[in-house]
Symmetry: C2
Subunit: 431 residues, 2 copies
């Protein structure tokens, strides 16, 4: 008998029928002899509808009240889910973030978990009940107010509960059946991974893979929680995200082709959500880069890759390019333009037609030639590389947006990742 935490997203509980299907899945887990704690998101588009209402009554929402408003969405889904389980003859109890002991700081809209005290959940489990917890929400002890955790909050709730309750596994359900070697909509030959390391998962998620939120994976890694990403709509085993020291369940280990050897590359991530800004004609004197990125940071924009060209000796000037989310570009451009005279650069170029391709694999640490394979594959395919950035287990390149899908396919093949069959692609995005 294990303790299993399950998380169901909004699309898994979008209507009464979906809720009943999820209830059955939970009851099946209970019937198999396990204790079950469920973190649930708001139904379907509830959160967007509430945000829309908020916008209608007030152009700018008071953060405390917005959290009070949004947190009601999960109360609805969790109570309905508990009712559905009840009507199948099993005891179920729902708990708000506050009742579940999800203690956060006071940052409304993006609260960080500071403590988890699941006393009432333990009591309910000891009494044989299935526990349902509102995802996405917490409670601040000082202000005694309700908070929300921000994007991906329900995943984080599930992982934090799994950590606090020392659960055996944290199953994150969505409408995709696991982590793929690439986005199956971009690379039809993508294969589902049975296991992926948490560090690889972090790089994949940070570079465009949408199935799991970085924050939840980080929390799982730090607290030693095993994540199992799987589908609400199929019975597949999904993908296990393993942190150092963890071993995959026996059922998975048996199916792996070469369990003795770690694959060099886990997957290829693609990302069309970034833009590139180039600051042209920056005086090539110490401190200019710092000056520029201080301005960008102050604007609230999140910089990703940075490349500085070699200075042209004749002019004493250089160009600095960086990428950032498209939605942050206008913030950064406005901030830089305002300081043009002080910084002394010549002009700004904004390019939102870029694509980022990342190759991720823990094997890069011990294998040479990984980047050569990437560059060669892109060269053969005639794809021009505009920027390069690397981490210990990742190589990212910026290419033309139009080239991204084709590039992903040739790179996927070059690393021997192609599966024998085309992947099943679901309509949603898993959120």
């Amino acid at each position: 008998m294990a303790l299993i935490v399950q998380k169901y997203g909004g699309s898994s509980v979008a209507d009464a029928e979906s809720i009943k299907r999820v209830a059955k899945r939970i009851v099946d887990t209970r019937r198999a002899g396990h204790d079950v704690v469920v973190a649930v998101s708001a139904m379907g588009d509830t959160t967007d509808e509430l945000l829309d209402l908020a916008h209608q009554v007030a152009p700018i929402s008071a953060p405390r009240e917005l959290d009070m408003l949004l947190s009601s969405g999960e109360r609805i889904s969790m109570a309905l889910l508990a009712m559905a389980i009840h009507s199948m003859g099993f005891e179920a109890r729902s708990f708000t973030g506050s009742q579940a002991g999800m203690i956060t700081d006071a940052t409304h809209g993006a609260a960080r978990i500071v403590d988890v005290t699941p006393i009432r959940l333990r009591e309910a489990l000891d009494e044989g009940a299935i526990v349902i917890v509102a995802g996405f929400q917490g409670f601040n002890r000082d202000t005694r107010d309700i908070t929300t955790l921000g994007r991906g909050g329900s995943d984080t709730t599930a992982v934090a509960l799994a950590a606090a309750l020392e659960a055996d596994v944290c199953e994150i359900y969505s409408d995709v059946d696991g982590i793929y070697t690439a986005d199956p909509r971009v690379v039809p030959q993508a294969r589902k991974l049975d296991v992926v390391s948490s560090e690889e998962m972090l790089e994949l998620a940070a570079n465009g893979a949408k199935v799991l939120y970085i924050r939840a994976v980080e929390y799982a890694r730090r607290h030693g929680v095993m994540i199992n990403a799987r589908s609400t709509f199929s019975s597949g085993q999904g993908t296990f995200v393993l942190s150092p020291g963890m071993t995959a369940p026996a059922s998975i280990a048996r199916t792996q082709e070469s369990p003795m050897e770690e694959p060099i590359v886990a997957g290829v991530a693609t990302d069309l959500s970034q833009a590139k800004i180039t600051v042209i004609g920056v005086p090539d004197v110490p401190g200019k880069a710092a000056e520029i990125f201080k301005i960008v940071a102050k604007s609230g924009a999140n910089v990703d890759m940075i490349v500085q060209n070699v200075s042209a000796a004749a002019t004493g000037r250089t160009d600095i390019s960086f990428t950032l989310p498209k939605t942050d570009a206008s913030l950064a451009l406005r901030a830089l333009a305002a300081e043009q005279v002080d910084v002394g650069f010549e002009s700004l170029v904004h390019d939102d037609q870029i694509g980022k391709l990342s190759v991720v694999g823990a094997g890069m640490r011990t294998h040479s030639g990984v980047s050569a394979t990437l560059f060669e594959a892109l060269s053969t395919a005639g794809v021009n590389i505009e920027m390069i950035s690397t981490s210990e287990i990742r190589i990212s390149v910026v290419v033309r947006g139009d080239d991204l899908a084709g590039a992903a396919r040739v790179v996927h093949t070059a690393y021997g990742l192609d599966g024998d069959t085309e992947a099943v692609v679901y309509a949603g995005t898993g959120r």
Copy 2:
């Protein structure tokens, strides 16, 4: 500067526009220099929609979970209302029933208030904030679970807050502009009352008047809270419900026609929601009535009027008639039929085409001839009386349902209650 508690029902906050209108009304009260605490219901049909969802996922809802579900409705409306007030430049904070210190027993779905500890509301008021509280909901200390107060719960929340905070007045807003001498849809000449005593209001509410809930009026009477029933959609002063020892505000006293003299009759209430059951051929021996009403009570039906006919000496048998809500009739009929042999009655007659007319007035205590006027008016109008019941300040008669509206009009005229103009009738019912 006064402390004013205001209650807005679901129809007053049905959509974003309504919420903004209510916010403006609250801000106006604050601008006039008063402290304001607001109890708010769920938006429009939210509660019904949530009940519908509950029914879709489970035929029978777990009571604890149903309260968790339903209580989310007020969280939405109160947060939106607080946001709307914020955007008008005023500080507003919303509180759940639990945060507001609304402590109840553990009876889910029909919890009774056992204590009100509005510590956080006091703090917020002291800091100059407008306070918004979720109506209809509370919190049980032993189970630490959320409860709901049942029908009319938000009115009760408002009155209980007014009592605990020693507010100067509890304004209950709806879509009708006060208490009328009769239902204006039945009696077009009905007049709005400037004041009504709480005991009269209780009788009116118990006998068909729908503007205020009995439970809230009882709470107000017991705790000395002055209620002011008024309209969200007009600026009229509404009706003040006064308990013993209270005097109407000066602005109202001046407008009353004869402030020195209490009117004999406050109003005429009509009720088409009852049915009549007659138990025919009951053995005329002691204890039979007790036997019958024990059976009815056990069935869960709520008996209102009871009449026992004079026994026919020849047969040694009598008939017993009683009225009860139409919705309870089948419960009572089934329970009685099951015990027919034991009780020894001959048959049951069920009549759901009745109407109840009640004349209510504190002046009945000191004036004779009040009932004579009623009977004479009905006789002149050719309306047959089927049952009569009286309290200290009320006379009720049961007539044919089809006769009820006509009877109400002639009785209204007979007691000199008719106004000079026709009452303005709103579409809704004020709930």
